[in-house]
């Protein structure tokens, strides 16, 4: 009994992280009917932002050396969390603007410049020894150059390519963006795993029945809850939130209300990105996992399953789905079948697709003729 409760607590901690990521999947699915496979990698970037904030950018002190710095570190941790949320929401917007929007509205010249810049870094990397010392500057110059060189190509493509409603294109693009982020991450962050040292005070509380709860678990749960409640408020009661719900029901009709759908879609990606970023940063700083550029892959897939389980497009569904997935994983990990802890997610996916493809809370609105 005590063991079950212990696993449940771990499951809730894991599940609240999955729920944070799943919300991003489900919101984007709601407005675009697109599964944004790059979302797990945004979570990875959140973890790296957390890592860099904790080890380089912000003046954290190692608690093993300076035990008196606990209070200052907690304040800095809040800053690091907000930083990760801000950077990841910007990433979400960038991904939407330069990967998915051209599929909807056609290629523009700005796209050539952006992709030129992205290409500029690896190209410069190839010739790094030649430019030693001023790498970033050269990369930007090369990027702008490549962007200009690509302009005629983009203009030609824009004229040739027929925009299609095919969702397959968007799905393949999403997988491409995911691969780009993972391998770009390897290039930028390196393949070595990183750890965040002990910077936050860790305390363990004993609950009646001998169940232990760590302060980091409580923090993850508490922050996730606050974020999810704020998200619910934004979606239900604010203007962009109402526009999001209108778009998720009928994007053409939403345009006829005067809603600038591209802006609302960008806003959706920003919201999803900030939640994933917060999750990534919290995991990195509080659970001492090893952070690698492929770190987002598995949590991303599991959160995707959580979103499907809860019902793609449904926000409460994503939260419930996340918690269920976390608990399932935790119980499997705590049982004698612990090597199947990653497989349980995919078993759940297969079962839910067979039994209830709309998900637990997926709604089916009957249309009146």
């Amino acid at each position: 009994m005590q063991q079950i409760a212990q696993q449940l607590i771990y499951g809730i901690q894991l599940g609240s992280l999955y729920a944070l990521i799943a919300l991003g999947y489900t919101m984007v699915y709601g407005v675009l009917r697109l599964i944004n496979f790059a979302h797990g990698d945004v979570y990875m970037v959140g973890a790296f932002v957390g890592f860099y904030a904790c080890t380089r950018w912000l003046p954290f002190k190692d608690l093993a050396v300076h035990p008196e710095a606990a209070g200052a570190n907690i304040a800095l941790a809040v800053v690091a969390l907000l930083l990760a949320m801000a950077i990841c929401s910007a990433m979400g917007v960038l991904i939407e603007r330069f990967a998915y929007r051209p599929l909807r509205n056609g290629l523009q010249k700005a796209d050539a410049h952006f992709w030129g810049l992205v290409l500029g870094f690896p190209i410069t990397g190839l010739f790094m020894p030649v430019f030693n010392g001023w790498g970033p500057l050269v990369a930007v110059v090369v990027g702008v150059g490549v962007g200009f060189a690509m302009r005629p190509l983009v203009a030609w493509l824009a004229r040739r390519v027929k925009l299609s409603e095919s969702r397959l294109n968007a799905l393949i693009t999403a997988i491409g963006v995911s691969l780009l982020l993972e391998n770009g991450g390897l290039l930028v962050f390196g393949a070595n795993p990183n750890f965040i040292p002990n910077i936050l005070p860790e305390r363990t509380y004993m609950l009646p029945g001998g169940v232990m709860v760590g302060s980091s678990q409580l923090t993850i749960l508490g922050v996730s809850l606050v974020l999810m409640l704020s998200l619910r408020y934004i979606v239900m009661y604010t203007r962009p939130g109402k526009a999001m719900r209108a778009i998720s029901h009928d994007i053409e009709a939403a345009k006829l209300m005067g809603i600038d759908t591209d802006r609302v879609i960008a806003f959706t990606f920003a919201l999803g990105g900030s939640l994933a970023g917060a999750g990534g940063a919290m995991v990195a700083a509080l659970t001492h996992v090893k952070i690698t550029p492929l770190f987002g892959l598995l949590p991303g897939l599991k959160a995707f399953v959580a979103a499907v389980l809860g019902g793609a497009g449904s926000l409460p569904g994503a939260m419930v789905g996340g918690l269920l997935m976390g608990s399932a994983e935790s119980f499997v990990a705590g049982s004698s079948l612990s090597m199947f802890r990653d497989a349980i997610a995919f078993c759940v996916l297969i079962i839910i697709l067979l039994v209830r493809p709309a998900g637990l809370m997926g709604r089916h609105v009957p249309e009146k003729v």
Binding site: A243, A246, L256, I259, R363
Partner: protein
């Protein structure tokens, strides 16, 4: 106020509209009638920038709007109430109306007044304010779609098939309200299958046949026109 100058629209190899010239003057009710597939809805969609035109130009109050995206046209003063109602079934009646006034954000007093006015026009809606719009009957949804398009305070209202699927007495009511809205100063372009009703309410009319305009005249004269009677009024 609104002018289409030899507008053509293609869907792939098919020309859905060819060289359509159309004019709507301030304060008028103009109706566009024609058989299924004649291009009535395509005309509306072309005006709102929902389908790209392959040639020709569209002007509104002297400005060219041929390539203006749909959401900007609402700001310019064109509201469309699309075919098939297209209400937001996942939201309440009040939220639907508020979304209709999306471009007027912050003007709480105006929005409140406009919602009251919609409830005056359609008392049935006021009984269902906080009900999810998906639970309304077809007729009530049509009323909601109509009310929602008024919330933007448009200068020009485009109505696509307002009578579709409604009981006869509701059709009467909807046309009565179209007339009332027009008296309050809203110019209306009406697309209708129900040619007889449309001609009775409209000032002028265009008859579309397979993508081009066959006849245009005042509604009265078209009602009396034998050819039109034979083809569209079923007499």
């Amino acid at each position: 106020m609104l002018a289409l100058r030899s507008v053509s629209v293609r869907y792939g190899a098919i020309e859905a509209l060819s060289q359509v010239d159309l004019e709507v003057n301030q304060g008028e009710i103009v109706t566009l009638i024609g058989a299924n597939g004649a291009g009535k809805s395509t005309t509306i969609r072309a005006i709102c920038g929902q389908v790209p035109t392959s040639s020709g130009s569209i002007h509104f109050e002297g400005r060219e709007i041929t390539r203006t995206p749909a959401h900007r046209l609402v700001h310019a003063g064109i509201a469309q109430s699309p075919e098939g109602r297209r209400i937001f079934a996942n939201m309440t009646v009040r939220e639907n109306l508020e979304l209709g006034a999306f471009i007027h954000h912050g003007k709480h007093e105006q929005i409140r007044q406009d919602i009251d006015r919609v409830f005056q026009l359609f008392p049935r809606l006021s009984e269902r304010v906080n009900q999810s719009a998906g639970t309304l009957s077809g007729g009530e949804q049509q009323m909601l779609a109509m009310g929602r398009s008024l919330m933007a305070r448009p200068k020009l209202l485009l109505r696509d098939e307002p009578s579709l699927g409604l009981a006869p007495f509701l059709v009467q009511q909807i046309f009565q309200i179209i007339r009332e809205i027009n008296k309050e100063g809203v110019t209306i372009l009406l697309v209708e299958q129900n040619a007889y009703q449309a001609l009775r309410v409209a000032h002028r009319a265009y008859v579309l046949g397979t993508g081009s305009i066959v006849v245009s005249d005042t509604a009265e004269r078209l009602l009396a026109n034998e050819q039109v009677q034979a083809a569209y009024l079923g007499e």
